[in-house]
Amino acid sequence: MSDFYGQLERQLVDAGRRRATHGRWRLALAGRGRPLLAVAMALLALVMAVAAAPHLRSDPSPGPAGSGASPAPPVTSPPPPAAGTPSLRGMRVAVLNGTTRSGAARAVAEVLEARGATIGSIGNAADQARAQTAVVYRPGAEAQARRVAAVLGVRDVRPRTRVEVVVAPEAAVVVHVGSDRRGP
């Protein structure tokens, strides 16, 4: 399930994609306004249907299509919502992709979001050749970081460095996604 900020972000990304596509068509087929509009509308409806699909499911696990038309396949299967798995409600977490695989950070963010975490920034880490996923925390947030690590099954938990201070100043906890989170 997604919050307002996540839903709005997906709407904006979808709208941006539609517009980028529409713009290219307009260049290619200049002068044919009306039929083009119809085609664009049909495409729009299709994209919206695809984007809306995961929200219609009652399955609480974050599904593969969370980022709309993202080309990345699902790479992280969420852990089953077993009893005893810590809730992350009220926690601000940033997720940085330390791999070159697009969508890896978002997949992890969706797992954390499903546990109640508020996702701050999602982006690319400066180091994109990270092997092992790590959870780093700002001073005082070690307990929170351990809960995040438990949800993700990550062992590497450590205090943040200046890099995280600059990249994700607002987050108590930052997850650096490594290539060990390659999905099934």
Binding site: L12, G16, M41, G123, V166, V167
Partner: protein
């Protein structure tokens, strides 16, 4: 995605946003919470806050080709749009929907839990976003120096290196910027 995406400036992200929806998403993620808090403080109403936030970012996406970095920082441009949205709301008693319609974005229906969450987020974000708003109004060099020093906790030598200015100059920018911020924040509370 650009490998250096996380480090691109707001201005670079907006310039890339026309062809790269993910760049706009990154700009959005950087600013959406503070902007929501800004709207919440003015409307004290979560649904209006969500509506204004959505329309402002839709208008920003729709108009990003018109953003001109020579005329000021991107965050100032964003809050300029936000300010106009508030003006429309005050005049008509309803939040503008034009940009969302043009982009084919449906108005998001939010349940009570989500509205409460928006409000709680805005309250938490409050003091910081006040500062960010005022920060946006500073001259570009002062703003960059204050951001680097206060938000990103960099030391003066690093900032000086990045800005291509001497440490003395950077210190002066930070102290002037902070003095201006104190003045603005104090003025509104008084």
């Amino acid at each position: 995605m650009d490998p250096a995406g996380g480090e691109r400036s707001d201005e670079e992200l907006l310039a890339a946003a026309r062809d790269e929806p993910e760049a706009f998403a990154m700009f959005y993620r950087r600013h959406v919470r503070a902007l929501s808090a800004y709207f919440w403080r003015r409307s004290r109403h979560a649904e209006t806050t969500a509506d204004l936030t959505a329309e402002t970012f839709a208008a920003a996406l729709d108009g990003c080709a018109r953003f001109d970095p020579a005329r000021g920082p991107a965050i100032g441009w964003l809050y300029g749009i936000a300010h106009r949205q508030l003006g429309t709301l005050a005049r008509r008693g309803a939040v503008e929907q034009r940009a969302r319609r043009r982009l084919g974005m449906a108005r998001l229906a939010l349940d009570d839990i989500e509205l409460e969450r928006i409000e709680a987020d805005a309250v938490r974000e409050g003091p910081q976003s006040r500062v960010l708003e005022e920060l946006a109004g500073l001259p570009a060099e002062q703003r960059a120096a204050v951001e680097a020093r206060v938000l990103h906790e960099l030391d003066y030598a690093q900032i000086a290196l990045a800005a291509g200015a001497s440490e003395v100059v950077v210190r002066k920018r930070v102290s002037r910027g902070l003095a201006a911020l104190r003045g603005r924040l104090g003025r509104e509370q008084g």
